[in-house]
Structures are given as C-alpha cells and as structure tokens.
C-alpha cells in the first residue's frame, strides 16, 4: 500500500515538476512598435485629358423619320419632304459618313406628290457639344438626286463637297436614339444600329 502511495505521489510529482521546469518564458526582443511616425498613403494624382466626342453619338445610326424643307422648284417656296432610311456613322476621329440607298423623300405641291430619290455616300467632319452637332465640312460626296413630280423625272442633281458647310444642328441623344433638329425646319429621328461603335 505504501509503495503504491509513493508511486502515485511520485507519478504525480514528476510530470508536474517536469511541466514546471520545462515551462519556457516568452521571448523578448525589441522596443515597442511606434505608430506615431507612420508613412500614410498618398492620394491618386489628379490628371486630365482632352475630352473626346460625346460617347453617345459615336456609332452607326439609321434614320426612321425625317423632315426636310427643300427648294424643289426654282423660284417657289420650299416644300416639306419626309422620309427615312439614311445610314449615318459617327466616328471618334471627327469624321462621319452618310449613305443613301434609294432614299425616297416625298412631299406635296399643289396636291401633287413630289419625290426625291437619293443614292450615294458623303463624308463629313463633325464636332459636338452635349447639345449641338457641328458639321464644318462635307469633304467628299457622290450622292445623286433624282427629282420627280406628277410628270415623272424632272431632273437629277449631284452633290458637291463643301469645305465651308458649317451646319449646326441641335440634338438629343438618349442611348439608342437621337433626335436632330435644325433651324430651317429639319428634324430627324435616328436609331442606333450595331454596325459600328458597339461592343458585344
């Protein structure tokens, strides 16, 4: 019995003593970290770049409803023509193009229908603010117009480049649509197509 008691006591004491003796202390090293003189981040630099043309105008468009006031008969008042189907492309480099494929504009004069049929393309330059488009020049064109009234074809006309075009139109671009209007009664509604300027 006594041997058992001693064995038990020693059995208790030895590992406990070993635990006490083997117990290490924390390592010590260095001075406390100071947070007072820390380097803090610098903000992003403020840089700017010349603005490009309005994002909304860039792309390709098809006219869906247009109104023009055109001098159809020499010496008479302008006639209101309507039509649709011009294809426009506005590029970020300040150039634009207009393409007409059997574009038909129709109007009425003294109860008779009058028509203009256009074919060909034009190249223009353009700039824009958020409300106005300026076309400084028509740099190239091969558009031809054929004019018709109740008598049939009454004449043809070929467009000419115009380095001093300087046409200024108001516009409202709302994503997929543009409404352009001019001071001479010109109004044109465009819808965006995916031919140019879109992603995905």
């Amino acid at each position: 019995m006594l041997i058992t008691v001693i064995s038990g006591a020693v059995g208790l004491a030895v590992p406990s003593t070993a635990a006490v003796l083997s117990r290490k202390s924390p390592e010590r090293c260095c001075a406390a970290v100071s947070g007072t003189s820390r380097v803090t981040p610098t903000p992003l630099p403020t840089t700017t770049r010349t603005a490009g043309p309005p994002l909304c105008l860039i792309g390709s468009w098809r006219t869906v409803d247009e109104t023009f006031m055109i001098q159809f008969y020499t010496g008479l008042a302008k006639i209101r023509f309507t039509g649709k189907g011009r294809v426009l492309e506005f590029r970020p480099d300040g150039t634009a193009s207009e393409k007409q494929t059997d574009l038909v504009l129709t109007g009425t004069y003294q109860g008779n229908e009058v028509r203009m049929v256009g074919n060909g393309t034009s190249e223009l330059t353009w700039t824009a603010t958020d409300r106005a488009i300026t076309y400084p020049a028509r740099t190239r064109t091969d558009i031809t117009w054929a004019s018709y009234d109740q008598r049939g074809l009454i004449g043809t006309w070929t467009g000419q480049p115009d380095p001093a075009l300087n046409e200024v139109d108001d516009y409202v671009c709302s994503g997929d649509t543009v409404v352009e209007s001019g001071s001479t009664g010109y109004t044109s509604h465009w819808v965006r197509t995916s031919a140019y300027g879109t992603y995905g």
Partner: protein, 455 residues
C-alpha cells in the same frame, strides 16, 4: 473480446482527451492566421482607348476605380502576399476594372450588346492608359491592417504599398507587396504541399466594406492538386467571395499553404516561396509571432495564465496587435492572470513530492523501529507477541515482516496493503493498454497448443 473492447474504449477516451475537436482546431488555426490578415485596396485611375477606332473612354477626368482583395503578411518586415490579379495592370487586373467602367458608360448609351462578349471585345481591342497616350495608368496600393488603439478600441492601420514582384495572373497569380512597417504580425508560409483531403481554411474579409467584423475563416478541404500553364494550384472547397481573392489558405496550424486565386483555385505556397526567395525575402516569423502562437497554444490548452503571459509579451512589442489583445482579454475573462505562473502543475508538483516524502519518511521510521525484530527474530518492543504466525523460512520472511509492519501501521492500512499484495499476484483482468491483454492472448494460444498436443 472484453479486453479488446476495453482497449478500444480506453483508446477512444485517450483520443478524445488528447485530440481537440475539429471546431477547436479550426478556431485555433483561424486565430493564428487572423493576426496576419490584411485588406489590400487598390485605386486605379486612367482612361480606356480602343486601339482599333482610337476612341478614348473616360472623358476629361478619366475613370477612378477601386478594388479590394485579401492578403497576408508573410514577413514581419512589411511583406504581404496577395493575388497578382488584384494589383496587376493588365486586363485581369486594373485594366479589366477600367474596361468595366468604360463598358458601364457604353451600356448607358446603348453601345453594349452581350456584356460578356463586350468584355472580350474590349480586352481584345482596348488598352488602359494614363493621361498621356501609351503611358501606364495611375495605381495606388494600400494595405489595411486591423489594430487596436491605446484604449483597446478597434482601428485600422492604412499603409501605402509597393509591388515588389509578381507572377502574372494568367500564370501563377501571386504578388508580393511591401509596406513601410516593421514588426508586423506575420504568418508562417508552408513550403511543402499538403496532401489532397487536408483540411484548410480560407481566411479573409468577404465584405471589405464591413470593417467591424473579424476576418472570416471559411473551412474546406484541399480537393486536388492542379497544374495550369506549368504552375501548381490547389483546388479547394472552401467557399470564398471575390473580395477574398488574395487571402491566404491556411492549414490546421495556421500556416499559409496557398493564396486564393479564382474559381476555387488557390496559388500554391510553393509559387509564393519562389517569389519571395527570388527577392531575397526570408519570410521568417518574428519574436512576437512566436509568442503569439505560443500564447494561443496556451489559450487553447486552457492554460490561461500562460496565455496571458505570452500575449502580454506580444503586446509589449506591438501594443496595437488586435488579435493578441482580443485573446488576452478572453484569457483574462477565463481566469488568466499575469505573473501567476503555472498554478496547477506547481501545486501538483509540490503536493506529489510532499506526499512521497512523507510516506518515505514514515517508512524509514518504521523500518528503523522494526529492524531489531528481523535481526533477533524475537517479538519487538511494543509489539504484541501473539501474531499467530510461526517463524518463517527465508523465502517467506518478507511476508512476515510485512505483517509486522501492518501492526505498526494499523489494521485498516494493513488490509489495504494485503489487498494490494493480493492484487499483485492474482492474474486478474488486464489493464487497458498494458501487457495483460497480450498475455491473455498468449494464454489462449498456449491453451490451443495444449489442445493440439492432447489431440
């Protein structure tokens, strides 16, 4: 069978006591890892230019975008590991974010069809640049670390960071950053590869905007080893958020085994180690890290005094160490006190040695009192004459003396001792884990041999 069952039961008991529950192991590993977890915030400023059309997106002021990733301090001298796609300027990094900003603008004006195709088109045709054509975008990298202020309130240290080196996102997706700080809490980087099936934790901030919470530890397993473009990756099952990209994946000891990449993949620590070595970075832990680990070991071993002692040592060097502060508080709440030392082992040690010494002293005393009896073989002084025994031969003399000592000790103790002696000599049932079971088996074999012999 009973002995086997007893053994199994004992073994199970030992395992239950020795091995902490999985939840405890996870919490322990998470506690180790959380000390080195950081938020990597990258701010980008630039424009996007379509190389085909020349169109520049971003207007006058350009785009400013910000992204957050996780990260881990892997060297106390301010080195931080994260995913390279968090800081890379290419399409998988900052340029990709600027592309996204441009696409948002384009979508607003109807110039985006399928968003995924649009992104691919942008990656293919566009580049991100600074205020001057073909110059790099502006990038500011910050590393945010949770700390506590002098009053123990949570705060954040926001440090500027530079990109020391990286392995491109499409390659190994690891980057090493440097912040101008010393003695940072750092995690140990494990250089070998854990086996498939190993338990791991992805530790980071699922929602970087919520700065009130501790880093989340998402448990999972290492599902597979993968090799992508000649680089090793771990496939892990831990569920992470995109904001946890760059966060460390740690093993059950809280050691970094990977860096969260994308699509359940983690870049391996081997890639990280190569990167660090290439820059001469040792990735060694500091004194405070070792003390912190030991403090946590003590804490999870319920040695709260020891935990307080070690965590105090951590806080002496780094008073802002949030995790040390938190576990120090928890240890104190559970009774841990500074400077008290190892109370239980000390008490047991003193008690054990005292009992052993007292009993040994009593034995010596009795032996001295009883020595004339054995020498002269006559009734000793003070002892009853009639013990009911005859003089014994030499071989039984010990029992004789024992019986005489019984009288000196008292009847009850003598009974106990007699029982003990009986127990010593009886075959009895084998003690769990001792040689008894084996002896029993031998006995069975011996019996069988005897039976064979008889046959």
């Amino acid at each position: 069978m009973a002995a086997t069952a007893a053994l199994c039961g004992a073994a199970a008991l030992v395992l239950t006591i020795a091995a902490p529950a999985a939840a405890d192991r996870e919490e322990h590993a998470a506690a180790v890892a959380r000390s080195g977890i950081v938020l990597v915030t990258v701010k980008w400023h630039g424009w996007v230019r379509d190389k085909v059309t020349g169109e520049v997106f971003g207007g006058v002021d350009g785009y400013t975008v910000e992204a957050s990733c996780g990260g881990a301090v892997v060297d106390p001298n301010g080195y931080v590991a994260t995913a390279s796609h968090c800081v890379h300027t290419g399409p998988e990094g900052g340029a990709g974010l600027l592309f996204d900003a441009a696409l948002t603008d384009l979508a607003r004006v109807g110039r985006v069809g399928d968003p995924a195709k649009a992104k691919r088109a942008m990656v293919e045709h566009a580049l991100a640049e600074g205020a001057v054509r073909d110059r790099p975008v502006d990038r500011v990298v910050e590393v945010d670390r949770p700390e506590v202020d002098a009053d123990g309130n949570p705060t954040w240290d926001v440090a500027p960071a530079t990109v020391v080196d990286l392995v491109a996102p499409a390659d190994g997706d690891v980057a090493v950053l440097k912040v101008p700080r010393d003695h940072l809490p750092a995690l140990e980087v494990r250089s070998d590869e854990p086996p498939v099936g190993a338990s791991v934790l992805a530790v980071g901030y699922p929602d970087p905007d919520d700065r009130t919470r501790e880093p989340s530890a998402r448990a999972g397993r290492l599902a597979a080893h993968r090799v992508l473009r000649d680089r090793p990756f771990h496939e892990v099952t831990a569920k992470t958020t995109p904001q946890m990209d760059g966060s460390p994946v740690v093993d059950e000891q809280g050691r970094v085994v990977g860096v969260v990449s994308r699509d359940s993949l983690a870049a391996t620590s081997a890639t990280l180690v190569d990167l660090l070595r290439g820059k001469g970075i040792g990735a060694a832990q500091g004194v405070a890290d070792r003390n912190y680990r030991t403090g946590l070991d003590r804490y999870f071993d319920d040695d709260f005094d020891g935990a307080v002692e070690y965590l105090d040592a951590v806080l002496t060097v780094d008073p802002a160490h949030r995790q040390a502060s938190e576990y120090r508080r928890l240890a104190a709440e559970k009774g841990g006190t500074a400077g008290r030392g190892p109370a239980l082992p000390l008490v047991l040690s003193v008690l054990g040695w005292s009992v052993a010494a007292a009993v040994a002293a009593a034995l010596v005393l009795v032996w001295r009192q009883g020595r004339p009896v054995s020498v002269v073989d006559t009734p000793p002084l003070g002892l009853p004459v009639a013990l009911g025994v005859e003089p014994q031969p030499d071989g039984e003399g010990d029992a004789d003396q024992a019986q005489r000592r019984e009288r000196a000790l008292g009847d009850d103790e003598a009974d106990d001792q007699a029982e003990d002696r009986d127990a010593d000599v009886e075959p009895g049932s084998p003690a769990p884990g001792g040689p008894g079971a084996a002896e029993g088996d031998q006995g069975d074999d011996a019996g069988e041999r005897r039976e064979d012999h008889r046959a």
